[in-house]
């Protein structure tokens, strides 16, 4: 069954008819040719498909495209400002926070969304005092980024990159 969908992806509005079964991830990849979000598991278990939906990090593999009519989607490709990489992306490059690159766009989007959550004062599972301000140390970054698996094991460099981006 098909349904109409209008959304903005990386700043560009698209209207398309999609099969109601199509996920946000497949709509982006197979229909719009935006391969920035990756399919690592298709079941919410790896984070490779992370995008920002209306500014918040989400997994695109478990969202139905039709349910996102009217949404603003940002992928890692859309974080670039002209020729300038987003500071998080630049920090990943500077710290070699990537190897094969397949988890990378998801890590980047997740980090961007995560830093906003920290700004909004959201606690995490390792925040001992739920009412205190968040101090974004390495353990906080690790916990908050744990929904993004990296089988190449670039974790140390990713954490270093995010620390730097957070300071900037």
């Amino acid at each position: 069954m098909e349904a109409d969908l209008t959304w903005r992806v990386d700043g560009v509005e698209h209207t398309l008819a999609v099969d109601t079964r199509t996920t946000v991830l497949d709509a982006l990849r197979d229909r719009l040719g935006n391969t920035s979000p990756k399919k690592g598991c298709d079941h919410g278990q790896c984070g490779a498909c992370t995008v920002l939906v209306d500014g918040r990090r989400q997994l695109s593999c478990l969202g139905l495209a039709v349910a996102h009519d009217g949404s603003e989607i940002t992928t890692a490709a859309g974080l670039v400002d002209g020729d300038e990489l987003h500071p998080v992306q630049q920090a990943f490059v500077d710290h070699d926070g990537l190897q094969c690159g397949y988890c990378t766009p998801g890590q980047v989007c997740s980090a961007v969304g995560m830093l906003d959550e920290v700004k909004a004062g959201h606690p995490s599972a390792v925040s001992d005092d739920l009412e205190a301000d968040v101090e974004l140390d390495e353990d906080e970054i690790r916990e908050r980024m744990s929904g993004n698996l990296c089988r190449c094991g670039a974790y140390s460099n990713i954490v270093a990159a995010i620390e730097e981006a957070a300071r900037a």
Partner: protein
């Protein structure tokens, strides 16, 4: 001694040339290439472990509309060669394991393909099966050789007599589970059949560690000349061995494209499907017996290994091979036995052999340290052999002792602290050490081409693949030094069978093998065309044979130091700190090398703490996804340091380098296990080191 390059670019810390494409997600992986008129495949896998397919009903599947084909053993394109049981996809009604391909659906879009696959009804004639490894099975057998071509068994001296006379002995059984490589990009292929130069041509975009190996494997299956198969793999989302040789899914894609009306077929594996189709590390049961004198000097080392193998295709991992040369022990015996089961086909996974084998040997060494009262670092130093005990050859370099000493220093190794004597709050604290080794592997036959471009630039071409190792970056550095030009003047092309022949990105052999070919091509260009070749001048070079590999034993070494915390109540294990020091010849690019080494260490930590694929009595791998097969996440990885000795191994290759892709994982799990013993006094001899084994 191989003629060494003058190094300017080699050794420089350079960022990845493809980093920008990767952080923006614009680097295209196999499935992501746009192809006109794409169709979509989805596999139907067997739901029995052994038997025959008796009927396949695709009526409901076709009723979906938009289904182009349901390919089964009854109608599938016939392969010219069915000798490889893994690759003989849909060539008979036999089912050899649960999760084997029994049908391929080809449809107009992915949603339809998946739903049609769900609706294909398969009936079976089920036969009794065996799926659980039993080290005491009467059916164990000795393979002819172990991967890739080692002797199955070795026996030096009289190990039994030496054990009987030893002042101290260790005799224990160690177990490692089935593990899955689980690269973040699942295996996926885009296959198209077309005509080229008047002949059929198979065009593959594949997620592979070697484009030429895929060509070489697939061509005979389809009765093609190798030239009739083209394979491209510009970006690959990790492999760790699982994409080292083409598996059934690649053949399935090529077959599917025979049934798609000439249109390309995109065939991704689901994550779950990668568990039965993408290879796995065999489980092992390893009995290690060590005998030592009062000072801890080894006199006997006996390492027996039992593994499983698939009845569909044998794979014998070389689990005990490193034990043959790791320590000085006059009496040594090693053996490998296989238990053939109705299970998916095992294959390469990062450091096949060394990774599980080092778990057993290096924990056994820790047990010997406890038994003899010799410090574990010192014990390893004492047993360091002056030459290769196995071949008798001199070492090109053996700097394990230096790695141990430097690691102990950097880590802050404490001697003489008894187990279970340190505590920080809820955590019991311990330290552990383990050694690592990995051979210099060289894959023969690589070729490269260099062409002079205008403006002092050079095109460098080789069919190598960058699976995340940084090959695309460091091969440019090697070419620059080989040509005596700045790295920016090199235009490197890789990842395509239209380029000169290259071997697999595996066995930590890529840089040595490809790099030697690039150096040969550059030298040929200089020899044939001089220092300033005319634009368009081309030279080819073939990787020369390196006689030193026959005269020297060439290995990398390393030492891991781990701090483990174990929750005093629950037994949960954390590794807040790991310091490793490696001796791996010249480091070509410190940036990408550090990442590679850290990556190996992370995979070793992951194996230590989490990884275990279950095979249940039904032949299922019930935890076949990333929520149940746990690989380390960010929160599991603490402070890691990878260091290396500043050195050059002139016997290895013109770069003076040895491989670094695998050594990071070797010994890592043992170091964690030894640290958890030190923290708790509880010796765990099976991986992974989960809370239930240490708590309670």
């Amino acid at each position: 001694m191989t003629q060494q390059l003058d190094t300017t670019e080699i050794g420089a810390a350079r960022g990845r040339v493809d980093a920008r494409a990767k952080v923006t997600g614009t680097a295209p992986y196999a499935y992501e290439h746009h192809v006109d008129q794409a169709t979509y495949g989805h596999l139907v896998l067997s739901s029995i472990a052994r038997g025959r397919v008796t009927a396949i009903d695709a009526t409901e599947a076709f009723a979906q509309g938009g289904v182009h084909a349901v390919v089964t053993h009854e109608n599938a394109h016939r392969l010219a060669d069915v000798s490889d049981g893994e690759l003989a996809v849909l060539q008979s009604d036999r089912v050899g394991f649960r999760g084997q391909i029994v049908a391929i659906v080809v449809a107009e879009d992915p949603e339809t393909a998946r739903e049609a696959a769900r609706l294909v009804q398969v009936t079976y004639d089920e036969e009794p099966h065996e799926s659980v490894l039993d080290a005491d099975s009467p059916d164990l057998y000795a393979p002819d050789q172990v991967n890739p071509a080692f002797e199955t068994d070795t026996d030096e001296g009289d190990v039994e007599a030496a054990l009987a006379e030893a002042a101290f002995t260790v005799d224990a059984v160690y177990e490692t589970p089935v593990q899955h490589n689980s690269p973040m990009e699942p295996h996926q292929t885009v296959a198209t059949w077309d005509h080229h130069d008047g002949r059929d041509r198979l065009v593959l975009l594949d997620s592979t560690q070697g484009v030429h190996p895929v060509r070489q494997t697939l061509a005979p299956l389809f009765a093609l000349d190798p030239q009739q198969v083209t394979v491209e793999a510009p970006f690959v989302g990790g492999g760790f061995g699982s994409k080292g040789m083409p598996h059934a899914n690649v053949v399935a894609a090529a077959i599917a494209a025979k049934h798609s009306g000439g249109r390309p077929v995109k065939l991704p594996l689901t994550r779950q499907q990668t568990f039965t189709l993408g290879g796995h590390r065999t489980p092992t049961v390893q009995r290690v017996r060590l005998g030592a004198d009062a000072d801890g000097r080894l006199d006997a080392t006996w390492h027996e290994v039992v593994e499983h193998t698939s009845r569909v295709k044998e794979f014998a991992e070389q689990t005990a091979v490193a034990t043959r040369l790791m320590y000085d022990s006059p009496n040594r015996r090693t053996s490998h036995r296989l238990h053939a089961l109705d299970v998916p086909v095992a294959s390469w996974m990062r450091a096949p052999g060394e990774a599980p084998g080092s778990f057993a040997l290096e924990v056994a060494m820790d047990e010997l340290a406890v038994a003899t009262g010799v410090d574990p670092v010192e014990l390893r130093v004492r047993n360091d052999p002056a030459s290769d005990p196995e071949s008798g050859h001199p070492w090109s370099q053996r700097h394990l002792v230096e790695c141990l000493r430097e690691g102990a220093e950097r880590f802050g190794w404490q001697t003489g602290v008894p187990p279970r004597s340190r505590r920080e709050g809820r955590w019991l604290v311990g330290q552990g050490v383990a050694s690592a080794t990995y051979p210099l592997n060289v894959m023969p036959g690589n070729e490269a081409e260099v062409e002079a471009l205008d403006g002092g630039r050079y095109a460098v071409r080789i069919g190598a693949v960058d699976i995340g190792t940084g090959a695309r970056t460091i091969l440019g550095q090697i070419a620059a030094d080989a040509l005596g030009c700045p790295v920016g003047a090199v235009e490197l092309s890789i990842g395509d069978t239209s380029l000169p022949f290259a071997t697999v990105a595996g066995g930590s052999a890529g840089t040595t093998s490809w790099g030697s070919a690039i150096v040969a091509a550059a030298r040929a260009l200089r020899d044939e065309h001089g220092a300033s070749p005319a634009v368009g001048a081309v030279a080819r070079g073939v990787q020369p044979e390196n006689p030193d590999t026959e005269q020297y034993s060439i290995h990398s070494f390393g030492a891991h130091f781990v701090e483990a915390h174990v929750d005093a109540h629950t037994g949960e294990v954390r590794v807040p700190r790991m310091v490793s020091v490696f001796s791996a010849g010249r480091i070509i690019n410190p940036t990408t090398a550090r990442s590679q080494l850290l990556g190996g260490m992370v995979m070793g930590l992951s194996a230590a703490l989490h990884e275990e694929t279950v095979i249940d009595p039904s032949g299922r791998m019930p935890n076949h996804d990333l929520a149940q097969y746990h690989v380390a996440s960010h929160a599991d990885i603490g402070h890691l340091e990878a260091h290396w000795l500043d050195e050059v191994d002139e016997h290895a290759n013109p770069m003076g380098s040895k491989g670094i892709g695998e050594i990071g994982i070797v010994g890592a799990a043992a170091a964690v296990a030894n640290a958890t013993f030190d923290a708790t006094g509880v010796r765990v001899r099976s991986l992974p080191l989960t809370a239930d084994k240490l708590g309670g």
